[in-house]
Symmetry: D3
Subunit: 329 residues, 6 copies
């Protein structure tokens, strides 16, 4: 049970605490990014990172003190201490794509594919939908056509083509605090026109796995492993006092990711730390990015806490996947 990909020697890491019996554990110095890391920020959360040059680059959801949502670039040597730019990314029009305005941008994901770093985010264009762009150097950014019509959120591109097609997960939504939501897969020959939409996985029933019974959504870009695509995702339970966002994991077929091989019945992490339970939106763990080291099987997942800060958590692929099979829904 191995990760298929590159080694990442400088992956952030902390060993599992002795008394921990769970497959995933939090970084002891969470949150790694506080709400006011830049002067204009009300909160920084639900953000994406990738290896870049000899360190790491990232795209961060930085809500301003007007509570407006935008995405800023950031850089780090160690993946834990970050310098986030004070101004949002400015996109140019991508060649072959018309300009699409953005009322807002939030919940970015980033993935390296071919020679580009592709960014997907929730883009405000007459409602929330999946915005797309890319950069080659984290200096110049190009915005492409939206992948879909509203209402959609949590668009997540695969890190490589499958059978010659680009693949993207997303979650059809409505125009409010959507009380439903399933994960879908779409294909594209060119990242511009999309089709062959397939239902991948829906909410679980209240009697089967209640933490994911209201809605679910893909998190980081899937990680290729010997057993299939490893997908961290969020699930939501609707209590009498609001939504609770927790994190789970699934394994998708390597050739046809619309096929679920396994899906965790228990969550991996649920809000229990102060920075997860108290903030602009209480009780939220929202994974948006992951780094993995194919050599050691180490994985670090970055997640938003309480819609306010960024934290991270660790696991190892050879421990996680057996756990997933044992705890398959």
């Amino acid at each position: 049970m191995t990760i298929i990909g590159q080694p990442l020697k400088n992956i952030p890491w902390e060993e599992k605490p002795e008394n921990c019996n769970e497959p995933m554990w939090r970084y002891s110095k969470n949150p790694i990014i506080p709400k006011n890391a830049i002067p204009s920020s009300n909160s920084i959360f639900n953000s994406a990172v990738v290896p870049y040059e000899d360190g790491f680059a990232g795209v961060f959801r930085c809500d301003t003190k007007a509570r407006l949502m935008n995405i800023n670039a950031g850089f780090s040597k160690d993946g834990l201490n970050w310098q986030i730019e004070h101004h949002p990314i400015e996109f140019k029009q991508a060649p072959g794509h018309d300009f699409i305005h953005s009322d807002y941008k939030y919940d970015p994901r980033v993935v390296q594919l071919d020679d580009k770093y592709y960014i997907q985010w929730c883009n405000g264009y007459h409602g929330p939908t999946i915005g797309m762009g890319y950069t080659e150097d984290f200096k110049e950014y190009y915005q492409m056509e939206n992948a879909f019509m509203p209402y959609n959120r949590n668009g997540v591109l695969f890190p490589r083509k499958i059978d010659g097609m680009y693949m993207m997960l997303s979650r059809p939504s409505d125009n409010g605090h959507t009380p439903f939501g399933d994960i879908w897969l779409s294909k594209s020959p060119d990242l511009k026109y999309w089709g062959e939409h397939r239902f991948v996985m829906g909410t679980a029933s209240f009697e089967e796995s209640a933490w994911q019974c209201t809605k679910i959504g893909a998190g980081p870009a899937p990680i290729e492993t010997s057993e299939g695509w490893l997908l961290f995702y969020h699930g939501v339970l609707h209590s009498c006092n609001g939504f609770v966002y927790a994190m789970g994991v699934a394994l998708l077929d390597i050739h046809d990711p619309s096929i679920i091989i396994a899906r965790s019945k228990p969550y991996l992490l649920t809000p229990e730390k102060d920075y997860e339970c108290v903030g602009d939106v209480h009780n939220v763990i929202f994974p948006c990015a992951a780094l993995s080291d194919a050599e050691t099987g180490r994985i670090v997942v970055y997640y938003g806490g309480a819609d306010t800060v960024v934290g991270c958590a660790f696991c190892k692929v050879d421990e996680l996947i057996p756990w997933l099979f044992e705890n398959n829904l």
Copy 2:
């Protein structure tokens, strides 16, 4: 102000009543299709017709006595008296497309394009979205991939490509009795992958044009005219006792149909006849099809009445378009 297209000498027609000052008038023998036109039907409404051979063919929404929704073919010599098949259309898998199941099919549109009659409908695949299929002879039918993910309704294909691209209108929705809805335009090189989604026109404000202030949706396939694409559409007002569906008309730019040239501030027809006011859903006029005669400028619009029956109404292009410019929102 003329229709661009073929003559249709046998277009159903009835002259405007003398005392009528409106641009559109109902057929005096409405409804033309009663709710029980076939033994299994609870209701027949929101249906589509096209010229076919020396008469007309159509695809009809026939809800069964279990209130299940499906679409049946039908044929007519005069466009007013119809023989509707007792069993729903059975689709084969279209070449180059995978099989997509349908929990239900409703609100079909039909348009001739190239050498095929393309059918679009609301297709139940983990929620309502735009199903597509075609026939060349109204005997063999082929189902294609859904155009979009849920939740979407009122998919309407243009009768020809524009700049080499297929064009489709649709209305993003939610998974219930959607209380919002705007008209969008999408493009496809191949009727399989879709992109370049553009907002076309939204609801009007309550203070501007209240009959279309809750949601709107495209009706028949747009009719090409010398002034632009003529689009009949429905608009909805949410009264304290439910939705009221009325019909209006718009004119879209001939080269870029995401540009609105004109849009009617008043409705063309609103429910006032018994068969429009009383039925399975009270107060509904829902246009799904139109026939036009380029020679005379005559147009007949087919619409569902009270989600129960089919009626039709008449207008002339050289009277309608000036009225539209005078009554532009």
Copy 3:
């Protein structure tokens, strides 16, 4: 396929119209009871009748012009022309039962069991629940304890004990216009204490049988037949403009009525006549009573129309049950 019970030579009857292919047909002179049949009434509907002496007696839901809900007795020679008493039934305290107040009474059912005519209704006691009473002569009436706590509606007693136990169908509800509802079975040794509650049948899915996808509720007291208990019931579809109430039929196991033998996928009757589509609540057919003649297999079902009037419809058991098996959900 026969009715097990008494002959009822004077059962109201009208032969099936020639052009009718359905198993149930309406009385041609519907509605049989107009909304203003007594001076105080706003509407008379959802009412119950039984054979009594050489004619028929009944308990009628008579809403007053203050729109208050109560139940009045009525009498008829032929089951079609009714004299309804101008004042509501006054109940005395049944021996062995404490007095229970009633904020309102509505939707009565009546069934002869042992030597009494038992009445069940929706009783307002800190919310709607199942009220019970009896009469032996339709002159003196005795009110018993409520069968259940709120919130419950559509309590329907079986016409005989099964295995020594009284049996009652009911529908747990909420305190408003309940948007859900399944049929349950409860047992009692003494008509005072109830238990062994069993889920009998729930709503159908939207994709299976949409007319009964929102809620269902038992109608008349079940009719004993050679094939099982014949149960007419109502089902509700929630359209964008409100509920539509239609009538279906099921067959329950003769020994254990919590077991469904068959259940109609299509409805038997849906609102389509003026007196069903237009009234205080549009689009309602609500069955509350049935008479049957074991000799001929004739059945007449009484139902409320549009929450305003009473109509009736006919069927024959030897035609209905085969239809039910053919149209089993």
Copy 4:
């Protein structure tokens, strides 16, 4: 029991039908104003009339075919046949009052007081509130300040000052299809500044008088009688398929109209005619105006039917008031 006021010899009148036992009866030729009485109208309803010169004048709610709401003047010789102006009233700024814009105007009331005809209506100024204006000749109209802030509807001015103060009834509301509503009384020294707001009467409980259990609102200007102010009002019941609007009557203390002397437990009229049950909003009777003849005690009430047309109904004060006392809530 007499009306205090002027004789009105030409009051519209029709004797009570022989078989009618109710205190109010409909005009046999209702509706008196059809929905399309003027070319631009979608519907004409909820309108107000007063004696004027040797006939009658009125202010009519005329919704356009864009479903926009405005008020038009009209004139009649007999109070039954009306000529309605094709264009809405244009108001000038009243002296001493600033100009207030109106997004819409609806549900007018008119009352003669001092030497002016005062019009009150629901005025759209950042939400619905009570607009006011006056005319002396039904040619020149002057708009005053709104009486209150939003959200308010059904403002009804008394026909004379009481203790030197102007008095107005109104109903605080919300910004939608308000599901609650009570009648309030406010005072003003000058028709510009208002205070001393008093709760007058609220909804009845479901168990007392269900037709008025959701909301109530004043109808025509109160009529002065020997027993107090006679107030026709509407009450609303919320059925599972929407609101039902019916009409009742109350008697307010002549010196302090915040005191209720009597209030009808039953309604006077409830929707039962086609033009009341079917229209743009089904099941609505909405009284907005009344004429009375002090000599004979005759009263005619004008009301909107189904939010589509105008009807009227008759009663006599010496029959109505005793009925009210007998049927006091």
Copy 5:
């Protein structure tokens, strides 16, 4: 003012802090049971304890990391330090009762009655209702018929029969996060069939006692005292950010517990500690069990905190009851 019952020398106890003027005070080492007391648990709360042998036994709501709800047994020497079993209780079919499935079990209560320990819980059988079972030794458990149909919660059995009848409190509910709820009393001759349902006490008005204005529910089994049955209960206020659950106390008539002798206008405890304000459901104090010592009048109440942990609080009967009479609603 004394407790009627057994002495309980080893009742957990801590004296009232000096600066406390309230009748109830928290244990200084709360929470006594953390959320992760057993490996599988997401949270442990809303649980029940009884004296057992020389220590205590209990039934604990242990939600798993899949957020599934079940009940586990646990044991303690001192009532404060608990060993909770890692696996849920497995019930056998009770003699004379059919097997009833449970989609879930939560919010248990336990009471010793005759020679058995009866457990009541919220049982998922086509919706939440009152499940029942018993044990004699906390090793073998027997499940009985559900007491009622759904939708019901907070079933609480009295610790002895009254007039030969078993008595149970419960709260009729709906199938969601019920926004209403009153306490009812039901009787049974045999714990299998239930009837004679009586309304006991409802929500208070917002103006009288707002902490209990949305819904209320019985907590621990009532404690017999010289003044009546002492009932701790929860009340809910619906703030703009969700429900707040607090604890109050009432005194019920010793012979007819449907009669309220006194009911606290203020709460006893409201969420103010971290473990009550922050957790899976913020702002919850939910009492489910109490121990009492007849000798000293000491009472300890066990309650769930924030739907996450278990805490306890202390009071003395001879201080509490006078406080209750002084603070009677």
Copy 6:
């Protein structure tokens, strides 16, 4: 940029922390009033203070342990340490005003005007509206007529007449947890009759300034400055887990305060401290009072935290107003 008014040498003050770049900073010893500052209190928050004699007086919202809402007087030497009276203010009837009952009183504001201290609060009189009273000595209090009908909240009187008229801000509301709300201005010649109501400022769009996109309401009495009236106000964002209340600032025209000169796009303070994020209502900062020193330009704002406690924050007018112009919406 100066404050126009009196010096207030003993204004509470604390210098801005060195690392703070914001125009407003919290008091380091917040909260200044704990939830249980008086024996009966559940919480003390949303309260008003004024300079009085050689110290300060105030009117405090003190919710009781029955969660009933009332207002108590309090006194302080330094504006930070307060003695709050244990019993609510008892009002006498103001001369010239009738007695108005109060179901509850909350969210007081106090302003000195002429020779009186006027108190405005949310008064429960058949729904929430603006109650008014005054005192000259904080010993005798007089209650006046309510300013408006329900439903209204956040009434805030200006500290002087403008053009001879009293001026009041308020926010029309509905009868629940109002999900909308704009600030209005009303005028009165006598503090009894009000009119000339003007819309002042509404919610911002989600795309412009999301923290104030759901509703807004005036806070302390406006402070007169050389640039206009300085108004602190609250704005609300509706997250998926409830409302978040933050504080902003606006500048209104000195002669016509219905004209907005500037309005902050970012908030000044948003909940981030424990006493703002956790309490009876999580995530609330609600300003109700301010003190200002014309000599130094110092301002201290008092605000409720989490509907539980009182905190305060500081700013300087010559720093705040430039910030406001730079951050104008």
